[in-house]
């Protein structure tokens, strides 16, 4: 097999080079972002533009991190994203487990409802959401955006967990039943540890979607101190004031927690997915 042998010698060179090219493409816009955060706003709007700052300015990150408004927005984002993710897990796991394992009246209807829910976005329903939360007196509360993020990310979590539970052989559970475990104990002590990859997937999708949700928070959170990062940092560049350096420094700080979260559980996401087929 000459092609295989040739590939074997080329491989250690070609793959890392391809990887480097890919990484460059995906990081280049964010390198622009970083370089713009490291120069005065006036330099960002120079024409013609330069790749490197004409004048370096490292102080912006310090300015942002000591800006009380920014810290408020950061706190909102952390609270909202973390709580929404927790709620999604607590609600999706029982629903997914039960639909995967038991037949009951309305099972098909429930799965169809979940599929349909997946197609709705908070953006397309923002008028209806605003009217509902206005009637409930929940405008300007964390609860409103936490409920929104939880509800709209639930479908994906149920979907992915449901199919994962269904792929685990029933024999494992039957053994656990014979040992005298009830449904709840079987779920928490036998099934959940096996489901880690699906849980990780649900956590990442929900956390990122909640962290980045924009339109509903923009409409519902009018109190500046309660805004999440996405909405808050947009006010660094408006028609009246243009602090591009601050906008981008704040954006970079906002990206970091998500990348760290992802990097810390990434190996379970893909590496662990093979663990689904229990041997």
């Amino acid at each position: 097999m000459p092609s295989l042998i040739r590939w074997r010698t080329l491989r250690p060179v070609v793959l890392p080079l391809g990887g480097l090219a890919i990484a460059t493409v995906f990081l280049a816009p964010f390198a622009v972002m970083l370089l713009d955060a490291l120069r005065p706003s006036g330099d960002v709007l120079q024409s013609p533009p330069t790749f490197l700052p004409r004048q370096w300015q490292l102080s912006t990150f310090g300015t942002i991190l000591s800006d009380e408004r920014f810290l408020n927005w950061l706190r909102t984002s952390v609270i909202v994203a973390a709580t929404s993710t927790l709620i999604v897990l607590l609600v999706a796991v029982p629903a997914a487990y039960f639909t995967a394992r038991f037949t009951f009246r309305g099972r098909t209807a429930f799965l169809l409802l979940v599929l349909v829910t997946q197609m709705f976005s908070p953006t397309s329903l923002v008028v209806g959401l605003y009217r509902e939360f206005f009637e409930l007196g929940l405008v300007n509360t964390y609860l409103a955006i936490i409920l929104t993020n939880s509800a709209f990310n639930l479908a994906f979590a149920i979907w992915i967990l449901q199919s994962f539970f269904a792929s685990i052989p029933k024999e494992i559970e039957e053994a656990s039943h014979l040992d005298g475990c009830g449904r709840v104990r079987t779920l928490s002590q036998v099934m959940l540890p096996l489901t880690r990859p699906a849980l990780v997937t649900a956590v990442i999708f929900t956390f990122i979607a909640s962290w980045n949700e924009y339109v509903v928070a923009l409409t519902l959170m009018q109190d500046d101190a309660l805004k999440p990062l996405t909405v808050g940092i947009s006010s660094y560049v408006t028609g009246y004031e243009q602090h591009w350096d601050q906008l981008f420094a704040a954006s970079i700080i906002a990206i970091i927690p998500v990348v760290i979260l992802f990097a810390s559980i990434e190996k379970h996401l893909v590496g662990g997915l093979t663990a689904g087929s229990v041997k």
Binding site: F98, S124, L129, F164, G276
Partner: protein
């Protein structure tokens, strides 16, 4: 996949065993983790009394999910439909019923055909390009190589970044006067004079699609990567023993087994891209009217940013949006399943 082939090829003695495990795998037909939308398992003990008790147990296990879905997803739909039948002042006050007028106004809106064409082009272009790039990227990231971890982390960044901020960043990168993209293209001698990506009508959609693909590829690649990881090695081994070359293996082994993951990735992409707001809205901020709008930004502008400023009309457009995405996805799923049933 070829790395697995080459690693295995030294293990000559194990061939017989490998074939045996492959056969076993075929008999069990165990749904692997790659088969994401797998049919659910049957009940543990399908007897009648148990079944009736399960109906009540189901309520307890599903109640929280039902409350959230009905309360926060379906109820706003009802509110949206109600709003679509109302007559509203420019400031958003309800002034009685409008019957079907709002729907009629949307359907007779002069730019409706432009918006529909934009939406079709936007969704089709972004989804197709994302899936193709996602497949290639997943294939690369599934292999072991020096620096793979760094590449995986790099790919996550566009996913982790807020869409609004990414869109803002690209308005700057694309800018005619201050943008580094024109600078880069000139420096590479690909163009002589700068291109007004966001002001020139010939370029705006292309510029939007590029950003759309850029932000959609990462999660798509991860869904496909998970699918690739779920394909057992012995299947590739069997293909190798049968003498399949690399392309044949990909075409007849990898792609069919990756089908469930591709299905999930394409459905999610259709939904996300159709509902995508920040990119189209931000990159079009300068352009008056609806010339590059998709149906989602069209809906938003009807309520907040147009001559109309009409909540009722916007709600009617919203109802159309919801119906369109429902129908598109259900038709897509039907078509895909129909193909699956064919041998």
């Amino acid at each position: 996949m070829s790395d697995k082939l080459s690693e295995k090829s030294s293990d000559v003695g194990g061939r017989g065993k490998v074939v045996a495990t492959t056969a076993e795998h075929g008999n069990q037909a165990a749904p692997g983790p790659g088969t994401v939308p797998a049919p659910a398992g049957r009940p543990l003990k399908p007897n009648r009394r148990r079944g009736r008790r399960d109906n009540w147990a189901a309520l307890a296990w599903l109640a929280p999910a039902l409350v959230l879905i009905i309360g926060v997803v379906l109820y706003p739909v009802v509110e949206l439909v109600k709003a679509s039948a109302g007559r509203y002042s420019i400031t958003g006050l309800r002034r009685g019923s409008a019957g079907w007028d709002n729907y009629a106004h949307v359907l007779s809106h002069p730019t409706l055909s432009t918006v529909v064409i934009n939406t079709v082009v936007w969704v089709a272009a972004v989804v197709v390009l994302t899936l193709l790039s996602g497949l290639a990227l997943a294939q690369l990231l599934s292999k072991e190589f020096f620096g793979r971890k760094v590449v995986r982390w790099a790919v996550i960044v566009p996913w982790a970044a807020s869409l609004v901020i990414t869109a803002r960043l690209f308005t700057l990168i694309y800018d005619y006067y201050h943008g580094v993209l024109n600078r880069l293209l000139q420096w590479l001698h690909l163009i002589n004079t700068p291109i007004d990506f966001l002001g020139d009508d010939r370029w705006t959609m292309t510029a939007m699609v590029a950003v759309g693909v850029f932000v959609s590829v990462p999660f798509t690649a991860y869904v496909l990567l998970a699918g690739l990881a779920g394909i057992p090695d012995d299947v590739y081994e069997a293909a190798r023993i049968d003498g399949a070359n690399r392309w044949q293996t990909y075409r007849h082994v990898t792609l069919p087994l990756l089908r469930p993951a591709i299905l999930v990735a394409s459905v999610l992409n259709i939904i996300y891209v159709f509902n995508s707001f920040p990119i189209v809205y931000t990159l079009n901020d300068r352009n008056p009217g609806f010339i590059h709008d998709t149906s989602i930004t069209f809906m938003y502008k009807l309520a907040f940013k147009s001559a109309e400023r009409d909540v009722g009309m916007s709600a009617a457009a919203g109802v159309f949006n919801v119906l369109v995405i429902l129908i598109v996805v259900l038709v897509y799923l039907r078509v895909v399943r129909w193909k699956e049933n064919k041998p």
